[in-house]
Amino acid sequence: MKKSTLIAIAGVATLSLALQGCSSTSNDSGSGAGSTDGAGKTLTVMMQANGIYPDEQKQWFSDISAEFKKETGAEVVFETFASSAEELTKIQTSVTSGQGPDIYSLGTTFTPTAAATGAFVTLTDKEWDLVGGRDRFVPATLQMSGASESTEVGIPFSSRPFVMSYNTELLSAAGIDKPATTWDEFASQAKKLTSGDVYGISLAYADGFDPWKFIWAMSVQAGNPILDGKTARLDDPVTLKAYETYFGWLTKDQVVDPQSVSWKSSQAIAAFSEGKAAYLPMATGTSKVTLDNSSVAGKYAYAVMPTIPPGSTTLPSDGKAATSIISGDNIVVANYSENQELAFALVKLLTSDSVQQDRFTLFGELPTSQDAAAKVQTDNPELEALIKSSAQSVGTPFSGAWGDTQNELVNVVTQTLPSLSSGSVNQGDLKSLLGSAQDVAQTALDKVR
């Protein structure tokens, strides 16, 4: 054989060995799946880094690890991600390579996108039993577990329903005795509340997430679920109306600080906490810590957001009185995990009443287990609005196309910001933006399998 051929063969051999090395590791490790005796095993859990309570989160991680080690002998390693984009990339690489974290905590609206990869264990009675039963959870929170009861992948882990906070002093000074329940009333109250450098509403037009939640809520209340079976309905008149209302607070009603065209969510919270705004819509219970340490401490309260769509005084017959999206986190277990039973044992611990109550005390997140939720409710009457909103939340469409749809809803706002900052939004421009958003969403919907 010629020398050059030999070299070539040697090269190919080395290469294929190297490539095999990459692919085979996932099959070698762990053989004892099937018992919850976890001695010598390690579970990896991927969870969103808590920006508000980083130290408490670290402590919580080590407490859970210690407790689980005591129960099963297994080690738990927590990894964190900073953004959902980072998490998506992590899931994508894990899905293709078949190795990675055993357990992920996923945001509820992100669960459909992740579930579409088919990388997570579908929950049958057996899995639900392993975590202590499906009926243990607050029913509303289960809406984002799967497209249907037989295809559920997510176990509800925490609930962060959206509400609005309002400045009690400003409202009573303006002679308003209770917060608005329709969006029209909301706007007219905001007008009364605006004077000088104090505005009726604090908004974050430039935020990557906030805007679509308004559009979604107003659309759903007016009877448009945005994704309606196999049809995308972003170009529906009620959705256009939602955008016009949302932008109109600045351009027509002038009840929003013009600076908020470039604000992110944290800046909107800051303005409210300085007493510069009467209403802070799209807030969660986690804002409590910021507000309690600010100049509005003791001068604010939470209320559910309006549930009657703009232009109406009663809920339309096909509308849903959605107070919030189903918001919070689900836990999923990876298909490729070698230690699935052990993983479900950990999920049982994470969703247990005591851990759920701890998470409320530590991070302000509402429990998803019924008993823990009831306990929190009795102990904290001031959180009535949050608990009411949690129960009246409506799930966003559980479709692999939702991610694209959500991006497009935000994109319409992003591309409108220049004209919003100049003080007027042209309806024709808005319609054409919604038209292209509609096309993208429909394309995404057509690809759903």
Binding site: I7, T14, L15, T96, S421, K447
Partner: protein, 334 residues
């Protein structure tokens, strides 16, 4: 291969060439060795193997995979078993051109990269010339010049985006000198110029570095000779120094153009996603398509377009420095 046979043809007599040619064709190993120039004989080419394998694994295979993926309908539904995703030929390329903002994104990327490259060139050259002669504190000034370049793009983007907030540092500065700024910096038509400005700020030191290196290559004798000949500063710069800089400057132009076309972090951090239309550059569009919409096939097709885009200047450059052919050898022999 043809060149190896051409070179001995110059040197050997015509009849020898003919018989040698036959032997070469017959594959006589001794003759094949003889046919090479002395420097080429017995070269341990096998020592290239480790590097070669590494290049195949790190560059060639992923590149071929990218071409392959660009022809698959690969998305979140098919990701798990990606190799069996439906093969759709050029479908992704057609969709990228006809249904996405690809052409717009290419326009934004190329135009802004060109503007930045053209503007950074004189700044870099001037800065290098200014720090060429010794003066007190020169080392300090040189280090300060490098700060924008060594700062991570993430930091640069974060700081500038804070400065360009509505009512931020930039707006207050403009107000203090009597200019009332209307509208947004980080969205709308002005965002394009913000991107140009920030990219210029962070990338001119690269040109400066390369020009500085070029200036070091100018021998002292050259300076002395031109001084003796009575050349003024401009004549000396134009006809003595600049010719020395042609190589480094070409290199700087091309590398900084490629760098700007490929720049992802800076626009991503400055403007976030979804990106305002005026600053929707190609890398951002590719990222969003692949990793937010999970359209990996379509994203790979966009990546292939961007590869073609950067191959053009790269090809021009390789031609210019003749790294791609054996021409340099011929030139040196003449």
């Amino acid at each position: 291969m043809t060149q190896i046979q051409e070179i001995p043809a110059d040197r050997l007599a015509a009849d020898e060439t003919e018989s040698l040619g036959k032997k070469i064709l017959s594959g006589d190993p001794k003759i094949r060795q003889l046919g090479r120039s002395p420097a080429e004989r017995n070269r341990p080419l096998w020592m290239l193997l480790p590097g070669g394998i590494l290049m195949v694994v790190i560059i060639v295979i992923p590149l071929l995979l990218a071409f392959f993926i660009a022809m698959l309908d690969l998305d979140q539904y098919t990701l798990k078993d990606w190799a069996s995703a439906p093969f759709i030929g050029l479908g992704n390329f057609v969709e990228a051109v006809s249904k996405t903002n690809l052409l717009h994104a290419i326009g934004v990327s190329v135009s802004y990269a060109a503007i930045v490259t053209i503007v950074t060139l004189p700044i870099g050259v001037l800065a290098a010339l200014a720090t060429q002669n010794r003066f007190r504190g020169r080392a300090f000034v040189r280090s300060v010049f490098l700060i924008p370049y060594v700062l991570p793009a993430f930091v640069v983007g974060t700081v500038w985006s804070t400065m360009f907030q509505s009512g931020g540092v930039v707006d207050s500065f403009l107000a203090s000198i009597g200019i009332q700024h209307e509208g947004l910096w980080l969205n709308g038509p002005q965002s394009y110029w913000v991107l140009v400005l920030v990219q210029i700020w962070s990338s001119w030191p690269f040109v400066y570095l390369l020009v500085l290196a070029g200036l070091q290559a100018v021998e002292n004798e050259v300076h002395e000779a031109s001084a003796l000949d009575g050349a003024g500063w401009w004549i000396k710069l134009r006809f003595v120094i600049f010719p020395y800089l042609r190589g480094p400057v070409t290199l700087a132009l091309i590398i900084s153009f490629l760098h700007n076309v490929n720049s992802f972090t800076l626009p991503f951090v400055l403007f976030g996603v979804p990106a305002p239309k005026d600053v929707e550059v190609l890398p951002i569009l590719t990222y969003v398509t692949s990793f937010q919409s999970s359209r990996f096939g379509l994203g790979a097709a966009m990546a292939v377009f961007s590869l073609v885009l950067i191959l053009i200047p790269l090809f021009v450059y390789l031609k210019a420095v003749r790294l791609d052919s054996g021409d340099d050898k011929k030139v040196s022999k003449k």
